[in-house]
Symmetry: C2
Subunit: 344 residues, 2 copies
């Protein structure tokens, strides 16, 4: 079936105008008389003409393509981010090239993006090595990291105030009367996990406490479950635990309640981070820190658009506020109980 694509020359012939006139008719600021435009549009409609975006990209040097790099989607914060990101970018007239990356194929993927002349790169659940980021920036392609950062890299970033969030959680647990407070980390090399932990220590210190125990969950469901088993076996189990993100916190709650027959929050308080949709589900009702995916996405796209506009690629960072969301998975401090269930 007629794979033959119709071109602007075909339309020009039918409309009895030059090919340039056709092109101008389909270009935002093109100067064409109403009469010409009408003839062109009619001919285009008759032939079913659709401008070739690849050709346009080639000649204009602007692909209107933005690459989105993601490593995994099982933490539901990322599907949410992905959806918002794609919609936001589409609205601004960009197309999204999606790349899923594994542990070893970072370089391959970046080469593919660069070959497709993407105008910018946004990385959500993945991080680029400094050298790869430099390679991108050297070609004039801005890189924005979302929910992570790399100190010595030219990549811009958007993060939540993870230090402050961790700190608030520490205050909440300490003020709730807990005295054996544990932490389950994500990945050790994750800036987000590290900052949340650092803030948590700071908050504990401000209440005269130190961390009781620590384990690593690696951001996976199974890893977190395993960490919970290790942390809570034996006599002197913790009376509260901060899990570096909600996704892992659900696994921890399952182990605590299902395997160890502990009550949450009567026996153990659990708090998480992210406020993914499931945190609000009845079965978990997780007390957590909300970081607005909407705001993060908007900030990331803003930075990207600015850097695409100006030729210079300069590193720019945005830190968004953290907001405690109190639900049922952790004992609420008396002082806070005045406004039960409230968000603050």
């Amino acid at each position: 079936m007629a794979k033959m694509s119709v071109t602007s020359a075909d339309v020009a012939r039918l409309a009895r105008v030059s090919q340039s006139a056709v092109s101008r008719t389909f270009s935002p600021g093109g100067s064409v008389s109403p009469k010409t435009r009408e003839r062109v549009l009619a001919a285009a409609h008759e032939l079913g003409y659709r401008p070739n975006a690849i050709a346009r990209a080639m000649i204009s040097g602007r692909s209107r393509l933005v690459a989105l790099l993601v490593a995994y989607l099982d933490n539901h914060f990322y599907p949410l981010v992905l959806e918002l990101l794609a919609r936001e970018l589409q609205e601004r007239g960009y197309q999204v090239l999606l790349f899923m990356t594994g542990p070893g194929d970072q370089d391959t993927v970046v080469q593919a993006m660069l070959q497709f002349q993407v105008e910018g790169i946004i990385m959500a659940s993945a991080t680029l090595s400094s050298s790869l980021a430099s390679e991108c920036v050297n070609t004039g392609t801005p890189v924005v990291l979302l929910n992570r950062y790399v100190p010595s890299s030219p990549a811009s970033s958007v993060v939540c105030d993870n230090i402050e969030g961790g700190r608030q959680l520490a205050h909440f647990l300490a003020d709730g009367g807990h005295r054996k407070i544990a932490f389950i980390a994500g990945q050790e090399d994750s800036s987000t996990s590290r900052d949340r932990e650092a803030g948590f220590y700071k908050g504990l210190a401000e209440r005269g406490q130190t961390l009781y125990r620590r384990a690593i969950g690696g951001y996976t469901f199974e890893g977190a479950a395993e960490a919970a088993r290790r942390l809570f076996k034996g006599k002197d189990r913790p009376d509260a635990v901060f899990v570096a993100n909600d996704h892992m916190a659900f696994a921890v709650m399952d182990v605590l309640r299902g395997e160890l027959k502990l009550r949450v929050p009567e026996d153990v308080s659990v708090v998480g981070y992210d406020d993914v949709p499931e945190a609000g589900w009845g079965a978990y009702a997780l007390t957590t820190i909300a970081q607005s995916a909407t705001d993060m996405v908007r900030a990331a796209v803003d930075i990207l658009m600015e850097q695409i506009a100006q030729q210079e690629v300069q590193r720019r960072s945005t830190i968004l506020p953290a907001r405690l969301v109190v639900r049922g998975s952790a004992r609420v401090p008396k002082a806070w109980a005045a406004t039960p269930g409230a968000e603050r």
Copy 2:
């Protein structure tokens, strides 16, 4: 800042060969002598040359682009599908153009895909009107629907055997001794929801039962919660409910246990469909039908690749088997109890 992209002509100049030789060096089957290839590669490396994929697409008429159209990602079956789809396509040398669609912008999105000369279109949580699908197929662009179908459309499709799955669930509930069995639908116009429902009726009939009550959840968390409230208010509440997908089933369980203080499965049995990861989480332990995302994705990509290869676009459909996964959310029939927790 060297935004100046280096071209094959630049490499040719440095290597003292023709531009054609450079091109051949970077083309899979290009005939170049080892000596020439070496010189070209050295020069390319020195200049940091990267072939321009846009130019290649333009001249070869093959964009290596596949469009992925998705409507929402809150049902976690779709992020999973998206991830697998992107990885599979990448592996086969295709780039993924991601489009999120809303209720009204189907046409805009399809035009954008077509302008970018995508070689194929895969639709996951979205469906194309027959006329739009025809438009795509008329330009020679194959369309594959995943987890849905449109009878009078030229679009191919991959689905689970939803009728058989619904039937198995009916048998399971009826054999479990339930006598007031309800159903919560997704969207009325969804082929998937309709087939699951039809199979469910068939299975009930085979056990001499008919549906006790019915409500519509619209595939949303809130809609399903609302449906559950309506279905279970008053005296003669159902003793079992089949919810058209897992995502809604979680909402239903939350309402049942959290608001209505009913025990699952002692007071009410709940079954879902999809076997998304959360169905296995301790807090839900949902009995459901597994449809393999991996198999669906592979089948969809197979169909697409076949249709891209041969010029003819012919509708092709694949139906994958349904598999019951027994967990704790529904009473297990005595006859089945021999193998508790088993999958069959």
